[in-house]
C-alpha cells in the first residue's frame, strides 16, 4: 500500500493486514515505554482543514509512538487562511520530504489529489462527505476484537447518512468483511441510490431488533434549518437509540463526538453494550498500524521491518 485514500480501494486482505498489525501495537501500548523506533528520522505531516479532536490527536500520537518527526498544520492560523491553494500548500510541505501526509479536508477527493502532487504516502483522514477510511478500520478492529469476525453479522447504521463520510466508509468496510448492512434514517438524510452499494435501507427503526450491532451517527444541529428534519425533538423521538430500543444482546457504536440526548440517550452511551470508549482506544493502534503499513510494511528495505520482525521492539530494548 502506498496511500490510504478510501476503503473502496482496499481488499479484504489489505484491511486484515492493517488490523493484524494493529493487534501487535496493542501489545506495545501495554508496556511502560510505549514508543518504538520504526519511523525514526522520517517525517509525518498532519494537515487538517477541518476541526478534529480524536482523529488528529490519535494520528499525531501514532506518529510520535513510531518515533516520526511530526509537523501538524491546522488551517486556522496557517497560510491557508491567507488564501494559499491546497496544491501550493502541499508543494510547500513536500519540500520537507515527508514520508507521509495525513490530510483532512472538507471536500471529496482532496486526499486523492494530494497523492498526485507529492511523493509522500497520503492518508485520507476524512475528505468531505466521501470517506473516512481510518475510522472504518478502527471500527472493524473494535468489532473484530469483541466478536472475532464480522462474517454474517447484521449491522445497522442509523442517522444522517447523507452528510456522513463515516457511514460511507463503514458501510463499504463492513460489507467487505462479510457483514450485512442496513442504513436507517429519515428519507431526507439517506442519499438517493445508495442501495447500489449492496445495503438495505430503512426509513424507521422498525426491525432494528435483528441487528447485532447498532452504529449511530452524529446528528448535526444545522440540519434543521435546511429542512432535513423538522426538529431535533422529532428526530430523537423517531431515531434516538436508547436502552429501551437497544436490547441487551446488541452492541452500540458511535464515531464521536456524541450529541447526548439526540442520536443516543445518555444511558445507552454509558451502558455495558457501548463500545464507544473501545473505539477511541482502537483509534491509536489502528492509526499506528496504518502509518506502519504505508511507510514500513511490505518494504524489505525499510529500516525496521525486517530487523525487528513483525513485533515492534520498544526503544531501549536491544534488537
Amino acid at each position: 500500500m502506498k496511500h490510504l485514500l478510501s476503503i473502496e480501494q482496499l481488499s479484504r486482505e489489505e484491511i486484515e493486514a492493517v488490523l493484524d498489525r494493529a493487534e501487535s501495537f496493542a501489545e506495545v501500548g501495554r508496556r511502560d515505554i510505549k514508543k518504538v523506533p520504526t519511523l525514526r528520522g522520517r517525517t509525518v505531516v498532519s494537515l487538517f482543514y477541518e476541526s478534529s479532536t480524536r482523529t488528529s490527536s490519535s494520528f499525531d500520537l501514532a506518529a510520535k509512538r513510531l518515533s516520526a518527526d511530526l509537523v501538524s498544520v491546522k488551517a486556522a492560523g496557517s497560510s491557508v487562511e491567507k488564501g494559499e491553494s491546497l496544491k501550493d500548500t502541499v508543494a510547500t510541505l513536500s519540500a520537507y520530504d515527508p514520508a507521509a501526509i495525513v490530510i483532512r479536508h472538507p471536500y471529496a477527493g482532496a486526499a486523492q489529489m494530494v497523492a498526485g502532487w507529492t511523493a509522500a504516502s497520503v492518508v485520507n483522514a476524512g475528505d468531505g462527505k466521501h470517506e473516512h477510511p481510518s475510522q472504518a478500520l478502527l471500527d472493524v478492529y473494535t468489532l473484530r476484537r469483541r466478536l472475532g469476525a464480522l462474517d454474517g453479522l447484521r449491522i445497522w447504521i442509523v442517522g444522517d447518512v447523507l452528510h456522513s463520510r463515516v457511514a460511507r466508509s463503514n458501510l463499504i468496510a463492513f460489507a467487505k468483511m462479510g457483514a450485512e448492512v442496513t442504513l436507517c434514517g429519515p428519507p431526507t438524510l439517506i442519499p438517493r441510490g445508495i442501495e447500489a452499494l449492496g445495503c438495505d435501507v430503512s426509513y424507521s427503526l422498525d426491525g432494528i431488533e435483528e441487528a447485532d450491532v447498532v452504529y449511530a451517527l452524529r446528528m448535526q444541529k444545522e440540519r434543521m434549518s435546511e429542512s432535513f428534519v423538522p426538529s431535533l425533538r422529532e428526530y430523537a423521538a423517531s431515531f434516538q437509540i436508547d436502552t429501551r430500543r437497544l436490547n441487551p444482546r446488541q452492541l452500540l457504536m458511535h464515531p464521536g463526538p456524541v450529541n447526548r440526548g439526540v442520536e443516543l440517550s445518555g444511558e445507552a452511551i454509558d451502558s455495558p453494550q457501548s463500545l464507544i470508549a473501545e473505539q477511541v482506544a482502537a483509534g491509536l493502534v489502528v492509526r499506528m498500524a496504518i502509518l506502519y503499513e504505508l511507510l514500513a510494511g511490505g518494504d524489505p528495505s525499510a529500516p525496521s521491518a525486517d530487523a525487528e520482525g513483525t513485533r515492534p521492539t520498544p526503544i531501549g530494548t536491544p534488537a
Binding site: E8, S85, L86, K87, H105, Y107, A108, G109, A110, Q112, M113, D127, G128, K129, H130, E131, R165, R168, P191, R192, G193, I194, E195, A196, L197
Partner: protein, 458 residues
C-alpha cells in the same frame, strides 16, 4: 413567426462579425461531399470562389486556373458546423479565452460560426457592450461570431435589459446562460417583450433550490462519493415551466444543454403540441455518464448541467434521431488550471469542446453505429436556424462554409496543445478518430491543420 420584421438572412458574413480577409479561391478535388439537408452525397470537385460555393463539379473536372488545389480524394467535405453555445470569456476573463483564441478553436473544430454567451464580467447587458464585442470580432475573429445579450440586468434575474436597443446594436438573441431565470414572472415578461424586440431566448434550465450545493448528477454515483447531487428534476421542471409559458405567450425559446431524459421528453411533447421550442445537446452529455466522476477529476468531468446516467445519454441520442434535439452545441467553457486543480466540489463548472466535438462524436457515436454520419453532420449545423441564421450548406451558390475531414485519422487530444487558451477539455488524453484538416468560414480559409497544409505544399 414571433420575431417580426426579420427577413430571411443570406449569409453568416452579413449577419455576424468576422475579421475581414481574402476570399479563398479553392478547388477541393475529388472530395466525398456530404450535405444531408441539401441531399448531396457524392464525390465532387468543390470550387470555392468569391465567398461562395461556385460549383460542385464532376470529380477531376473543375477548372483549377488561378485556384489553390487541395487534393481531397478519400477525404470528406461537409457543411461547416455552427455552435450556438460558446463562452468566449470576454470581457473580464481574457486569461481563459478571448475572441481571437476562441474563434481559432472554433475554426480548428470545423465551425464556420458561433454564438458567444453573455455571462462575462461584467455581463453583456448594454448596447455599448455589444458594439465593443462586435468591434473585437471584426478585428480578430477567425470565424463569424454572434453575441447574445443577457435577458436580465447583471443576470440578476430581476429586471429586463433594454432588449430593443440591444437588438438594434446587433445582439443575436438573449441568454442569462450560466444562471437560470428563476422568477417565472420575469421569464414571462421577457417572452412577452420578445414580440417587440425579436430574437430567440436561450435558457439555462435549472431550479437552484433543487440543485442546491450540487456538483454532479444525483444518483448512485453521487451517493457513493458523498458529493451533493444535482437531480434531473432541477432541469426538467424548469424546461416544463418555460415550455408552458412560451406556449401561453406564443413566444419562442431555445433550451440549452439538455442533460436529463425527462427534459428530452418534455421538449418532444412541447414540439408535438406546437410550442416554438428548440433544443441543443452537448458532446459530453452525448458521450459520457456520471460513472466518469468516480475518478473525481474536475478537469474533464465537472460541468453544469452534469453528465448523467446511461438512460439520459440514450434519451439525448434518441432526441438527436427524432429531431427533438435539433442541434449539437459544445457549451465550450474554458477555465484555467487554478480553478480546476482543486477538489471536485470546489472546482469551476465547465469543459472545453470546440476543437473536439466532431471527432469525439464521430468516434463515440458514428463509428460504433449508434447514429449515422449524415445525422451527425446535420445536427452539427442545426444551431444556426433557431437564431434566424442560415444553416451552412454546400449547395452551389451558398456562402462557402466548408469543413474538410479525414475520417480515418487518429489523434490524441492535447498532445499538440490547443488553439483555445484553456486546456480543460473533457477529451484530454483520448485518442479520437476523425480530424478536421481545413475549415472555410464565410468564404475565407479559417483553419488548416499544419501537417496537412505542409503535405499539400510538397
Amino acid at each position: 413567426m414571433s420575431a417580426q420584421g426579420e427577413l430571411p438572412t443570406t449569409s453568416l458574413r452579413e449577419q455576424l462579425d468576422v475579421r475581414p480577409g481574402e476570399d479563398a479561391h479553392l478547388v477541393l478535388r475529388r472530395a466525398t461531399v456530404l450535405d444531408p439537408v441539401a441531399g448531396i452525397d457524392s464525390v465532387h470537385d468543390i470550387v470555392v470562389r468569391d465567398g461562395h460555393v461556385a460549383a460542385l463539379a464532376s470529380p477531376g473536372e473543375a477548372d483549377t486556373e488561378g485556384a489553390e488545389v487541395v487534393e481531397a480524394e478519400g477525404l470528406h467535405a461537409f457543411p461547416a458546423f455552427f455552435d450556438p453555445h460558446v463562452h468566449l470569456r470576454t470581457p473580464g476573463h481574457e486569461h481563459k479565452e478571448d475572441v481571437e483564441t476562441g474563434t481559432r478553436a472554433a475554426a480548428a473544430g470545423g465551425y464556420c460560426g458561433i454564438l458567444a454567451m453573455a455571462n462575462t464580467e461584467p455581463p453583456v447587458s448594454t448596447a455599448a457592450d455589444i458594439s465593443a464585442l462586435r468591434e473585437q470580432a471584426r478585428a480578430g475573429a477567425s470565424v463569424p461570431v454572434g453575441f447574445l445579450a443577457t435577458v436580465t440586468k447583471e443576470m440578476a434575474g430581476e429586471e429586463l435589459t433594454e432588449m430593443v436597443e440591444l437588438r438594434e446594436a446587433g445582439a443575436l438573441g438573449f441568454s442569462d446562460d450560466g444562471l437560470p431565470i428563476v422568477d417565472a414572472g420575469v421569464m414571462r415578461r421577457a417572452l412577452q417583450y420578445q414580440h417587440l424586440c425579436g430574437g430567440n431566448i436561450a435558457l439555462h434550465e435549472e431550479d437552484p433550490r433543487l440543485s442546491m450545493g450540487g456538483a454532479m448528477h444525483e444518483g448512485p454515483v453521487s451517493a457513493v462519493l458523498g458529493i451533493g447531487g444535482i437531480p434531473s428534476v432541477s432541469e426538467s421542471t424548469m424546461v416544463a415551466r418555460d415550455a408552458a409559458i412560451a406556449a401561453h405567450e406564443s413566444a419562442r425559446i431555445h433550451v440549452q444543454h439538455l442533460s436529463a431524459a425527462e427534459s428530452v421528453e418534455i421538449v418532444r411533447a412541447a414540439k408535438a403540441a406546437g410550442v416554438q421550442i428548440s433544443a441543443e445537446a452537448s458532446p459530453h452529455h452525448l458521450c459520457l455518464t456520471d460513472e466518469e466522476v468516480r475518478s473525481l477529476d474536475p478537469h474533464r468531468f465537472k460541468m453544469n448541467p452534469p453528465i448523467r446516467e446511461e438512460r439520459d445519454r440514450q434519451a439525448l441520442i434518441e432526441g438527436l434521431r427524432d429531431g427533438s434535439v435539433e442541434c449539437i452545441a459544445t457549451d465550450h467553457a474554458p477555465h484555467q488550471p487554478e480553478e480546476k486543480d482543486v477538489p471536485f466540489e470546489q472546482a469551476a463548472f465547465g469543459v472545453t469542446g470546440l476543437e473536439t466535438a466532431f471527432a469525439a462524436l464521430h468516434t463515440e457515436l458514428v463509428l460504433p453505429g449508434v447514429i449515422g454520419l449524415g445525422l451527425l453532420v446535420e445536427r452539427m449545423g442545426g444551431g444556426a436556424e433557431p437564431f434566424d441564421l442560415p444553416r451552412p450548406t454546400l449547395a452551389p451558390g451558398a456562402e462557402a462554409n466548408v469543413v474538410l475531414c479525414d475520417l480515418g485519422a487518429e489523434w490524441t487530444v492535447g498532445e499538440d496543445g490547443y488553439e483555445s487558451r484553456s486546456a480543460n477539455s473533457w477529451c484530454a488524453g483520448r485518442t479520437l478518430t476523425g480530424r478536421v484538416l481545413m475549415t472555410v468560414a464565410a468564404g475565407q480559409v479559417a483553419f488548416r491543420l499544419r501537417s496537412f497544409s505542409l503535405g499539400v505544399a510538397s
